[in-house]
Amino acid sequence: MTDLVKIRRGPRADAGYESPREHGMNFAAVLAETIGRHPDLELEIPSWDTPPASIDEAVWRALHEVPDPEFPISLPDLGLVYGVCVEGTTARVTVSFTASACPCVEFIKWDIRDRLLQEEGIEAVEVDVTWDPPWTADRITPRGRRALRRAGVSV
């Protein structure tokens, strides 16, 4: 079972809430600044030899440009992306988090949304949260392990 969290686009009229990104904020960058992520470490984005075979694959590749808020590692390389599915113009992404009380949940959702809305053919993004199965460090890819080691994290 997944817990559907629908991310709304645009301002939320009833509470006067707007996406911080609409004010030019980048959650990952702000958090990196706040908690001191090493400024010289950049996300290693894979180079792909062939064009994506499907829009699902294009979305999957785009997620490699969404960093974890704390370390220079992409969400797929950290093993947090459990599934991608595009229905019409809606991208549905299933993710988990390293801890049940991960304080970056909202940041990560916004970053996924903002990146995927740049993809051609994607007009809406829905992020499902799952704990099935729970995330473990075994889900980190070899590229992700290299990235963490560069950042001084032993994995």
Partner: protein, 271 residues
């Protein structure tokens, strides 16, 4: 699959009506207790006896809130509105242990919540790892993985306080006060809810079995400070509400309720 679980339920709608309601209430009670227990831990982040204890309380608060978030979200499939559960209920609608109604006013009382109530919630969660209600399996495993050090914290502090007469006496008093309500929280032995959930393979163990597992785990701590626990025949069920898993018609006090609902921050609620 065990013989008691001829088939599992993959979603809440697969669960027969007569079981869905008590199962939903069990999950809500776990969620409410974890959310409020997390708040109690958070109150000691500043003011615990040592810096390390404050940091441990911070970590345990975070765990409990995360578990509350997962459990409240699950209740959507049981016909509840998770946002309303978290932010819009009155005190009488909470299914929390009476031990959480008001803040503990000293560190031994907080430790009693840590040693006794937190352990009870963990024992209950352990009894759900093979539940016939399959959506619990992985989620409970995540919860239990994060709970591992909570009991270690209680054990360490019990040993530390047991070294002095004053500490031992204060903790014994707090444990003695807390033990009864925690033992009752598992449910009355003759009550429908715990028995039905056990019989149907939702929970591995009826209330008496869970009480025994809990007692086996906390007994070394109780013995270390000389705390006494009421025998199960003498738990005081006269004012017991099996549906709310508590004694009495009360609920979180007004300050606790305002804080746990987030009354001050309503304008800032996000989806």
């Amino acid at each position: 699959m065990t013989p008691q679980n001829p088939d599992t339920w993959k979603t809440a709608s697969d669960v027969p009506e007569a079981i869905r309601e008590p199962l939903g209430r069990l999950l809500l009670s776990l969620a409410d207790n974890k959310r409020l227990l997390g708040m109690r831990y958070s109150e000691w982040i500043l003011g615990a006896p040592t810096l390390e204890a404050g940091i441990a309380c911070s970590a345990m608060a975070q765990d409990e809130w995360g578990h509350g978030r997962i459990l409240y979200a699950m209740l959507k499939d049981f016909g509840y509105d998770p946002g309303a559960l978290e932010h819009e209920r009155e005190a009488a609608e909470y299914l929390n242990s009476e031990l959480l109604d008001s803040p503990p006013n000293d560190w031994p009382t907080m430790l009693a919540l840590n040693a006794l109530l937190d352990t009870a919630l963990t024992v209950q969660c352990e009894a759900l790892t093979e539940s016939r209600f399959a959506p619990l399996h992985y989620k409970v495993r995540k919860l239990l993985d994060e709970e591992r050090f909570h009991f270690e914290h209680a054990r360490g502090w019990t040993a530390r306080l047991a070294e002095t007469d004053a500490g031992r006496t204060a903790l014994a008093d707090a444990f003695t006060v807390g033990a009864g309500p925690v033992l009752r929280w598992f449910g009355s032995a003759g009550g429908d809810i715990g028995s039905v959930l056990a019989t149907e393979g939702v929970v591995d163990g009826d209330p008496d079995a869970l009480r025994k597992r809990w007692f086996d785990r906390v007994r070394p701590l109780l013995d270390q400070v000389g705390a006494s626990v009421p025998p199960s025949a003498d738990l005081g069920w006269s004012d017991w509400d099996d549906g709310r898993r508590r004694t009495g018609a009360g609920g979180p006090d007004s300050d606790t309720l305002a804080r746990v609902r987030g009354d001050k921050n309503r304008a800032m609620l996000m989806d």
